[in-house]
Every structure is written in C-alpha cells, then in structure tokens.
C-alpha cells in the first residue's frame, strides 16, 4: 500500500503522468468555475503547459496537485478576462435596449413587484443542502456571462472586489451593478427551481 503511494508520487513529478494523475480533479474545478466543458478543458491544458514550463519553480513543498491548482486558478481568471471582453462587445449591441433587469423585480416606485414576493419570502435556507449545489450551478449558468463571471470570482474564488475590477478592467460601479443583479437573480432562480422540483 505504502509502496504504491510512493510510486504514484514519483510518477506525478513526471509531466507525462500529470493528465492521468490530476486531469480529472483540475477539470472538475475548472468546470464548476467556467460552466462549460470545452472552456474547462482548455484551461486545464493551459495549466499543464504552464506547469511544464515553470516546473523548475515547483519547490516540492506541498503537493504537486496543489501547485497545479494554483496555476489553474490564475488561468481561470485570465480566461474569464478574455471571455468578459467579448461578452462586453456583444452586449454593446443591445445597449440600446436600456431595460434594466431589476425592472422584473421592482415596480416604478421601487417597490417589490407582487409576483416576486411569494418566492422572496420563501427562505433560501430551506433548500436541501445536498441539492443546493447542482441547483446553484444550473442557475449560475443561466445568468448573463458578465454577471456569472463576476459572481464566480467574488464568491467562489473569493477575490476582493478591487482585484476583480483590476483583473476584468471594469469600474467599481459596474462591478456593484453586476454583482447585485447576479445575487437577486440567483436567489430567485435557486428557490424557483427548488420549489418546482419539490412539487
């Protein structure tokens, strides 16, 4: 038993064994952040290639997987920055459509709309712990690209808001708007889906 663990550890220092040893774990992580299998595969590949290039920097302290995971996190941010840029230029076309998504939650006087109140009062905490994650993932995926990216970096990658602005080259006020929209919609979506499944 101990022996086979040793061999495994030895193998994992060899880049050609990386894909088998760490591919799935890195892929799962990337998929939960990027929500798209092709994108996740792409960042995993970039991670391995960067790892290969900087292999001499791996001190051997800590696990190889942890080291690769650190690279992966960086690659995810870079990937999101690029994807955000293209989402931004796309959304400029519909900038003329000035309808604020918050309008589906609030009436003209700024009060909560009648039709969202019932769901709002249902506590999110009543959603089963086990079922929370898949429902959350599905809802995150249903958000517009820039909202989900910002939300993911803030809440899953735990980046400070200032860092997110810098990384994605967006203003603070833009960030607050995106985060707020994402939060309103996510809580609503999770509860709606959960209530639907339960029914």
């Amino acid at each position: 038993m101990e022996q086979s663990e040793l061999t495994e550890a030895d193998q994992s220092r060899d880049p050609s064994a990386w894909v088998d040893a760490y591919g799935d774990a890195l892929f799962r992580y990337a998929l939960s952040r990027l929500r798209n299998p092709e994108s996740a595969e792409e960042v995993v590949q970039q991670t391995f290639l960067a790892g290969l290039q900087h292999q001499h920097q791996f001190s051997g302290a800590g696990s190889q997987q942890g080291w690769l995971m650190g690279i992966l996190k960086r690659k995810i941010i870079d990937f999101v920055r690029q994807r955000n840029r293209s989402a931004q230029s796309e959304s400029q076309t519909d900038a003329l459509d000035t309808r604020d998504p918050l309008d589906s939650f609030f009436d003209r006087s700024g009060k909560w709309k009648q039709n969202v109140r019932e769901t709002l009062l249902e506590p999110l905490d009543s959603v089963d712990r086990q079922e929370f994650w898949p429902v959350f993932q599905a809802c995150l995926k249903s958000l517009p690209e820039r909202q989900s990216n910002v939300f993911m970096l803030r809440e899953m990658e735990d980046l400070e808001t200032g860092e997110i602005c810098k990384e994605l080259e967006i203003s603070a006020s833009n960030l607050w708007v995106l985060l707020h929209r994402a939060r309103l919609r996510l809580a609503n979506c999770i509860k709606l889906r959960w209530l639907q499944e339960k029914a």
Binding site: W18, V19, G23, L49, L124, R154, K191
Partner: protein, 85 residues
C-alpha cells in the same frame, strides 16, 4: 426615504464592504420595517455561506465524482504536453 430597489442595492454592497454610517443607518431602519428587504438580506447571507462552505470543504468535489475529462481531451492534452516536453 430610499425605496426597496435602492435599499437592496446597498444591502448587496454591504456584503462586500462596510457601508458609510449614514447609509448603514438607512439600511437598518428600512430593514426593521420591511420584511421583503429583510428576506432579501437573509437569503443573501445564506447564499454566501452555502457557497463558501461548499468551496472550502469540498475543494475538488463540487462537481460529482463522475465528472471527468473525456478520453479524447486527455489524449489531446497529453499530446500537447509531450510536444512541449
């Protein structure tokens, strides 16, 4: 008086950084009277907690075990590594 629409925006912001005192007071006063905005805040705190629990405790298992790199992707990536090695 700020509307629910404006208050929820401040509540959302307060999850990421402390608000200036005057805004904090407005939010607090509004929430003490408005069960809808209070429900919004309650949910957002839960959402944050659940996500961070999941991310911390199951760092690689947020996706089901069955989620794996496809064989084709593995092959492609291994090839890319070999060509650079």
């Amino acid at each position: 008086m700020l509307s629910c629409r404006e208050i929820t925006k401040l509540v959302s912001e307060s999850l990421d950084h402390p608000l200036p005192l005057s805004k904090r007071v407005s939010v607090w006063m509004h929430l003490s009277m408005c069960r809808l905005c209070s429900a919004f805040r309650r949910d957002q705190v839960v959402l944050k907690e659940r996500i961070s629990d999941e991310v911390e405790h199951a760092s690689n298992e947020e996706m089901p075990e069955g989620v794996k790199l496809s064989a084709a992707a593995k092959q492609r990536i291994a090839k890319a590594i070999d060509s650079q090695a």
